[in-house]
Symmetry: C3
Subunit: 134 residues, 3 copies
């Protein structure tokens, strides 16, 4: 698998990693199949959403903050329980089809790393599975 | 991959696509492996849930509407920020095991397209990966 | 695929199945690829989250209970609508990379079965896909 470093800048943000993942696909030997992306952290996740208007990302971050407030009374004492919970809401992995070496995304889709407890140095892991044409 | 058209009828609804995905599996050459389903839209998602009592689907739609109200003050100005957020809560893809050409689902499970900003003409993309028996 | 039994003890809890899934991987013939885990139930899901402090799991369960209260007026009459909704928030499947027969998890990650309507006897289904090294 490929391990790719990501720098995040805020406590909670959606970082566009579409080109990063496409570059990983271009380095892979497999041209047709599935690109699998995995987040090895427990206070961050992955999602696919709008790539055009950046205000959508702001709305996603703000809405998750309302669903899972940071300042509730939590059992976990590290002050990042909200980040753990958001990680489970987003999920830890993505699958994206690959055809002729290109990620198959919808017209308005981008790939996002969902930071929940930054800023930090993070990683995503990427692996490719060939699909059989027969 | 197979591209399959779906017509949705309401702004927010869960459309049963279980038979649609099973038909795609029947057309595929692979009999054993994994069926991958991808939603190429940013205001809709995919989920697996109860296939018996349709009121479960109503409850899911209503509960997501309460978690992510449509009428909040959002940054994105197109009036569908809630739909984008719900898409990330549901997720953009599913994986379902395939054995002897049949989708492996639990007794009460069906496959649903989660429309968030309909009614619209939508698509799901489906791909099959063979699993090695060795 | 392998079918693995799980006993849950509470109505809502996160049961650590990391070792269970690693054991399934050790029994598989495939050493490098992807481990896919599927939950065949509609009132339970799967997630990957913190494996160190068990209070994180308590916070996840409590937070989901707040997002989706059990005692709202739901259309579904079996008293477990909240469990169905949480199942869709968590999701029904996981993908975990496999290298040299070991699950590739981040330092703080564990694999959890998210019971929503227990205590019950449950199952998870596990399948392995080989990745091509070429």
């Amino acid at each position: 698998m490929q391990r790719i470093g990501i720098k995040t800048k805020n406590r909670a943000e959606l970082v566009d990693i579409t080109e990063t993942i496409q570059s990983a696909a271009s380095r892979a030997k497999i041209r047709d199949g599935v690109c699998l992306v995995f987040c090895p952290h427990t206070t961050a996740g992955l999602t696919i959403n709008e790539n055009a208007d950046p205000s959508v990302r702001e709305d996603i971050v703000a809405s998750l903050n309302r669903m899972v407030p940071a300042d509730r009374a939590y059992a976990h004492s590290e002050g990042n329980s909200d980040s753990h919970i958001k990680a489970s809401v987003f999920g830890s992995s993505l699958q994206i089809f690959l055809e002729e070496g290109r990620l198959c995304l919808g017209r308005w889709q981008g790939v996002y790393f969902c930071e929940g407890d930054g800023p930090r140095s993070r990683e995503v892991w990427v692996k490719f599975i060939a699909s059989e044409m027969r």
